[in-house]
């Protein structure tokens, strides 16, 4: 046997590799997992709880919180409160939207709404309902009472009240016309406190506010007016196709107009116009477009966000 050995080739000796380097793999794995968790904790915004009377259409873990079309949070779990009066909706905010969690923020659920003269939230029919928010500027808080409907934005406008014996075909969002141009809309209608008449809350856009004077005359322009007279024959008139369905209000201001109407001024709503009113054509200077509207097209100051 010893004689045969020299015939065999001799194996070489090489340098081995460092096997401790292998332990870098689990260490790297642990670091990556720690980063996953850290990212969730560091880059996640606060969790807020919103109490809705009706969370219809929200889906646990699926629905989103959107603001100006951007997704800024996700709905977590929905839970009934102990008194069964509300649903507590947990929303995990994105870090970029941590500022939303302030007192005064109003959250509401956007649902599809089909009303005459106004369709809103139509995208939610396919996309599902979502929560949206009108940010406030108060103290930081994590508890909110959700609003049932979108808050009416405090806009520069003239709010007036019209008294009518009957509502007729008027409804919220019915248009208000001046010379057949829409200058405002009905906000809501309700019975007066003593139920003797109907109070219609109407809003005139700011630029048209000077048209409303204390002696302006309002009349119901909805529906079809049919006059049948012995000498004039049949006279059928309607303001516009829209008012046929949704109702509408028209007004006119006499040439000897008085002071501009103030907020919450009360007027009578006449059932129909008098011929004289429609002939009135006083010259009233209108407001120019407010400055704030003009600035909307400029870029926001990104360096110093509020």
């Amino acid at each position: 046997m010893n004689e045969k050995l020299p015939l065999l080739p001799k194996a070489q000796v090489g340098k081995g590799h460092l096997n401790w380097l292998l332990w870098l793999i689990p260490i790297a794995a642990a670091f990556l997992c720690a980063w996953f968790v850290g990212e969730d904790i560091i880059f996640a915004g606060p969790t807020v709880t919103i109490y809705f009377e009706n969370a219809d259409g929200l889906q646990e873990h699926n629905s989103l919180l959107e603001y100006r079309g951007a997704t800024i949070g996700e709905v977590g779990i929905l839970k009934l409160t102990k008194d069964r009066q509300r649903v507590a909706v947990k929303v995990q905010l994105d870090a970029s939207a941590a500022n939303i969690a302030r007192q005064g923020s109003v959250f509401w659920i956007v649902r599809p709404e089909v009303k005459l003269g106004a369709l809103s939230g139509l995208q939610t029919i396919v996309s599902g309902n979502y929560i949206t928010v009108e940010p406030g500027n108060g103290e930081r808080t994590n508890q909110f009472i959700g609003a049932e409907t979108a808050p009416i934005k405090p806009v520069q406008a003239l709010d007036i009240r019209l008294l009518a014996p009957k509502l007729g075909s008027l409804q919220p969002l019915s248009p208000i016309f001046y010379r057949d141009i829409q200058v405002g809309e009905v906000l809501d209608c309700r019975l007066s406190d003593d139920a003797r008449e109907v109070v219609i809350h109407a809003r005139i856009r700011e630029e048209y506010a000077p048209l409303v004077r204390m002696n302006s005359k309002f009349w119901n322009a909805g529906g079809i007016n049919v006059h049948i007279g012995l000498f004039s024959g049949a006279n059928i008139s309607a303001e516009s196709a829209q008012t046929l369905i949704s109702g509408g209000i028209e007004f006119a201001t006499p040439a000897d107009f008085q002071n501009a109407a103030t907020n919450d001024a009360v007027f009578n709503l006449n059932e129909k116009s008098e011929d004289e009113w429609e002939k009135w054509s006083p010259a009233i200077p209108l407001h120019s477009v407010p400055e704030a509207m003009k600035n909307k097209s400029t870029l926001p100051n990104l360096k110093n966000p509020r």
Partner: protein, 201 residues
């Protein structure tokens, strides 16, 4: 001490000297490493299965996919996927999914770690052999999860109406698959029955 060894790669029989620690023997003909037992088998298996065990946690806790379908925002982890299959009465596919993507990787990782950690212990030799047998049985099923993932991805691609983002879970899951594969590859089953003196070679 001189000994005669055969190269595992080209089959050349040659003589080899004892080598100092940290060095390896290389074949005279093909220059591949000659080893008595697979190189660093124990350390490699331990490292890979530990890394796989670490990734196994996010793979199961984080969503596999985040799908946006017509505004609906759906996140699904492996377990949610399985439970939804069960609620849809797809018991066969559901249990297949459970066995191949949750149970077998976990069992395999724990089994390999058990074997490599207790290897020096003279007792439990039978238990180690049993665990190894179980690993051998579930190994082919483990490969199924790769195909299952491929099917899932193709299903997702089919639904072009949905926007699908892979979640962190799917990355971790892929890491688990690759690392358990590497762990099994580097494990030398002969270690199971080696006596402590044999293992020193």
């Amino acid at each position: 001490m001189e000994k005669i060894v055969a190269c595992q790669t080209c089959g050349l029989v040659q003589q080899a000297d004892d080598v100092p620690k940290g060095s390896v023997i290389k074949c005279a003909r093909c220059h591949f490493q000659i080893f008595h037992r697979r190189v660093d088998s124990r350390v490699r298996t331990m490292a890979f299965s530990l890394a796989a065990l670490i990734f196994y946690i996010p793979a199961n806790l984080y969503p596999i996919v985040t799908a946006e379908y017509q505004g609906h925002h759906i996140q699904t982890t492996i377990f949610q996927g399985i439970s939804s299959l069960f609620t849809l009465h797809q018991y066969f596919i559901g249990s297949l999914m459970f066995f191949t993507s949750m149970l077998t990787p976990g069992l395999k990782i724990i089994g390999l770690m058990f074997i490599t950690l207790t290897l020096d212990w003279p007792h439990w030799k039978k238990a180690r052999t049993w665990v190894f047998k179980i690993i051998r049985i579930i190994d082919p099923w483990n490969m199924l999860e790769v195909f299952l993932l491929a099917i899932c991805v193709s299903m997702v691609e089919l639904g072009e109406v949905a926007t699908v983002h892979p979640g962190r879970g799917v990355f971790s899951f892929a890491a688990v698959v690759v690392l358990t594969l590497l762990a099994t590859l580097s494990f030398d089953s002969r270690l199971l029955w080696d006596s402590p003196t044999e293992r020193k070679l």
